[in-house]
Symmetry: C2
DNA sequence: CTGAAAGCGCTTACAG
DNA sequence: CTGAAAGCGCTTACAG
C-alpha cells in the first residue's frame, strides 16, 4: 500500500508538499509539482480516503436514505414492492451524477432508533444525504432536517436550513392525464389513489380535480377510489369496483401510477372488458414497462433524469458551499411532467 | 461530537480501557465496564467508524460491484434495463443480510481503468466485495480475484484463493421448464437465449437440451433462437420468428427469463395468436410481475433469498476468518430452482 | 486489569 | 514555496 510518505521520499519533498500538490494548492513550485506527479505515477499512488475523511472530518460519501414505510430498516427493503419501482430508475441517474462528482454512494441501514440513525450517519462522516421519504409523518424526516447535514429530499416537501427538495409537477401531470380523457369525451372518470396524506398523492388528486373543474364537470366523491400504490391493491380495488358498480358508472380510470395501472389492466381483462373499448386507463410515471403492457399504456412521464440531476447538483452545491450563508435561499426544484399517449386510452363509449 | 476521550473521563478510566470495553475484551474489570457503559449511555457516545477503519486498516463496508456491461462505470447504470430486473429483488435480501451483520453497503462507482478500480476499493478499505459480473470475459473479474479482497460472485463462476460464487441451478431449472412442456404434449419447443458465452445462458441451454434428450426428442438448431436478455430484443426476435416461420414450426417457447417472456407475450398478442391456445410460454426467475402478465406466466423460480443469504454469509465468513488457511476449500453454493405453473402453458395443439 | 505511548495516513496552521 | 509538528479518533502491543 503506497503512502504519501513514499511519494514524498521519491520526489525529494515532505508529505506536506505532496498533500498540497494533491489538493491543488497554489503554494507549490512547478518543479516540486512535477516531481511529485511523476512519483505518483511511478508508484501508482492513490490517497487513502479513510485517512482523508478522518482529518477532514468529512468523507466524500453521500448516504441514500429511503423511508418507504415506517419500519424499514434497510434502504432497499421495500424496493421489491411494485409501488417503488419508479424510484429505481431515478436512482440510476442519481448514482451517475454522484459518480461524476467523485462521490461515493452509501446505503446506510440502521435497524436502530431515530437518534441512533442520525448518529450513525454522523459517525460515518457522510457529506450529504439524499432522502426519499414517502410518509410525511415519518419521524426520521424531522431528525434529518435537524441534524444539519446537507440533505435533499425527493418527493417529500421537507425544507430546513440545510435541506430542500425536488419533485415532479404532480399536480400538472394528473391534470394533463384527466384532461386527455375529457378531450376523448369521457365524463365519468375514476381515479385510484391512496387515501394517505402524502404530498405525491395529494397533488395528483388535486390535479384530477382541477381538470374536472376546468371542464365544468362535477367532482363526485364516488369517483375517487382509495387504493395503495402497489399493483396488487390496485388490482383488488378495481375488481371490487367492477363488481360493486352494476351498472358501471365510469368509462375511464386515472391510475395513481403505472404499476397501479398494471393491476387495473389485469382486473379489467379478467372481467372480460376491453381496453380502451370499454374502459380507458392512464398511468403515471412512464416506466419502461408501459410499452409492454396489454395494451401499451398511456401515461404521464416524470423527468427522472432532471429530478436526479437537480437533486444531486443541489446537494453537492450545499456540501461545497462551506460558507454557511444565513440568507441562503434554498428553493425547491419542480420538474415538468408530460403526457405520453399510447393505446390504453380511446374515445368514451356511452354507458348502459 | 462525543469522543472516547470524554467517555473515559466521565468513567474515570483511560481511552484504552474504553476501547477494550467497547470491543468486548475480557481484560476489563466488571466495575470499569459498568462505569463505561453508563458513561456511553449518558453521553450518547458512538464510536467514529472512520477512525476505526483507519487504525484497523479495514472498514465494515462491503462494496457492491455490478458489471453488467463492459463499460458501465456506475453500479446501477444498467439496472433500468429489463434484463437485470431480477437482480434487484435479490439485492434487497443482500442488503438485509449485510445490515443484520452490521456492515454497510457501498456502491463504488469508478469511471477509471481496472487497476484504478481495484485501488479505489483498497483505498476505501472495503472489507469484502459482492460482485455480479454477467460477462465472464470482463477484465475486472480477474482483477478482483487477484486483489485478494474477499469476494463472492453471484452468477459468475469465478473462484480464487479469496473468492467463490453462488448461483441457481440454472441447468435443472431449464430442464424442468422444458420437461413441463413435453409433458403437455409439446414436441416442437423453441428456446430464446442469448448467443453469448455467459454461464447462466449456457446452463439454461444445456438444461433445455437435456430435457429433450431425456424425452428422446431431437435437438434442432432451428429451435434455439438467439435474443438478448432484455424485453425489447425478445419481443423483436419473436416478431421475426413468427414472420419467418410460415407455417409455424413450434408450439411452445422456453424464454431465457421472465422479462424476455414479457416481450414474447407481447409479440404473440400482436400477431393475433393466443396463449396458451396457440403457443405456450415459460419464463425463468419468477419475478413479481409474472402474476400480472396476460396471461399470468408459468415460470421457474430462483430462490433469491437463499442466494442472497448464501452469498453474504459466505462473504462475511471469509472476512472474519482472519486466519488465512491455505487449505481452505471454498465450495460454490448452488441453490435449487422450482417450476411454478400459471396460465401461460397448456396442452400442445397440432401444427398446421 | 490498566494506562502511557505509538501509530493508522493524511491535512493544515505555523514558522521560516 | 516548504518542512516540522500537531492532530483527526481510535486501537494495540508494551509495561506494569
Amino acid at each position: 500500500m503506497v503512502t504519501s510518505e513514499q511519494v514524498a521520499r521519491l520526489a525529494g519533498v515532505s508529505r506536506a508538499t505532496v498533500s498540497r500538490a494533491l489538493n491543488g494548492s497554489p503554494r507549490v513550485s512547478a518543479e516540486a509539482r512535477k516531481r511529485i506527479e511523476e512519483a505518483i505515477v511511478s508508484l501508482g499512488y492513490e490517497p487513502d480516503v479513510v485517512a482523508q475523511s478522518l482529518v477532514r472530518q468529512r468523507s466524500r460519501t453521500i448516504a441514500l436514505c429511503l423511508f418507504f414505510g415506517n419500519d424499514d430498516s434497510t434502504v432497499l427493503s421495500r424496493f421489491g414492492e411494485t409501488q417503488h419501482y419508479f424510484y429505481l430508475d431515478m436512482l440510476r441517474d442519481v448514482e451517475r451524477e454522484i459518480a461524476d462528482a467523485h462521490y461515493d454512494l452509501l446505503l446506510h441501514s440502521s435497524s436502530i432508533a431515530q437518534n441512533n440513525y442520525i448518529r450513525g450517519l454522523q459517525m460515518r462522516h457522510v457529506a450529504g444525504i439524499l432522502a426519499i421519504a414517502l410518509n410525511p409523518t415519518d419521524a426520521r424526516i424531522q431528525a434529518l432536517v435537524e441534524a444539519q447535514i446537507p440533505t435533499v429530499f425527493i418527493d417529500s416537501i421537507s425544507q430546513g436550513q440545510n435541506s430542500t427538495y425536488v419533485s415532479s409537477d404532480n399536480l400538472d401531470g394528473s391534470r394533463q392525464a384527466t384532461e386527455h380523457l375529457i378531450q376523448l369525451g369521457h365524463r365519468r372518470i375514476m381515479t385510484l389513489l391512496p387515501g394517505t396524506n402524502g404530498p405525491v398523492g395529494s397533488k395528483r388528486r388535486a390535479g384530477y380535480c382541477q381538470a374536472l373543474e376546468q371542464a365544468g364537470l362535477p367532482i363526485d366523491e364516488r369517483l375517487i377510489y382509495p387504493a395503495g400504490w402497489n399493483t396488487e391493491e390496485a388490482y383488488r380495488a378495481t375488481m371490487a369496483l367492477l363488481r360493486e358498480r352494476q351498472p358501471r358508472d365510469f368509462t375511464a380510470i386515472v391510475a395513481g401510477s403505472d404499476l397501479m395501472a398494471i393491476g387495473i389492466l389485469r382486473a379489467i381483462h379478467e372481467c372480460g372488458l376491453h381496453i380502451p373499448g370499454d374502459i380507458s386507463v392512464v398511468g403515471f410515471d412512464d416506466v419502461d414497462l408501459c410499452r409492454y403492457t396489454e395494451p401499451p399504456l398511456t401515461t404521464i412521464r416524470q423527468d427522472r433524469s432532471a429530478m436526479a440531476q437537480g437533486a444531486v447538483q443541489q446537494l453537492i452545491q450545499m456540501i461545497e458551499a462551506d460558507d454557511q450563508l444565513e440568507e441562503r435561499q434554498l428553493s425547491p426544484i419542480i420538474t415538468p411532467t408530460q403526457l405520453v399517449v399510447r393505446a390504453s386510452t380511446g374515445p368514451a363509449v356511452p354507458l348502459a
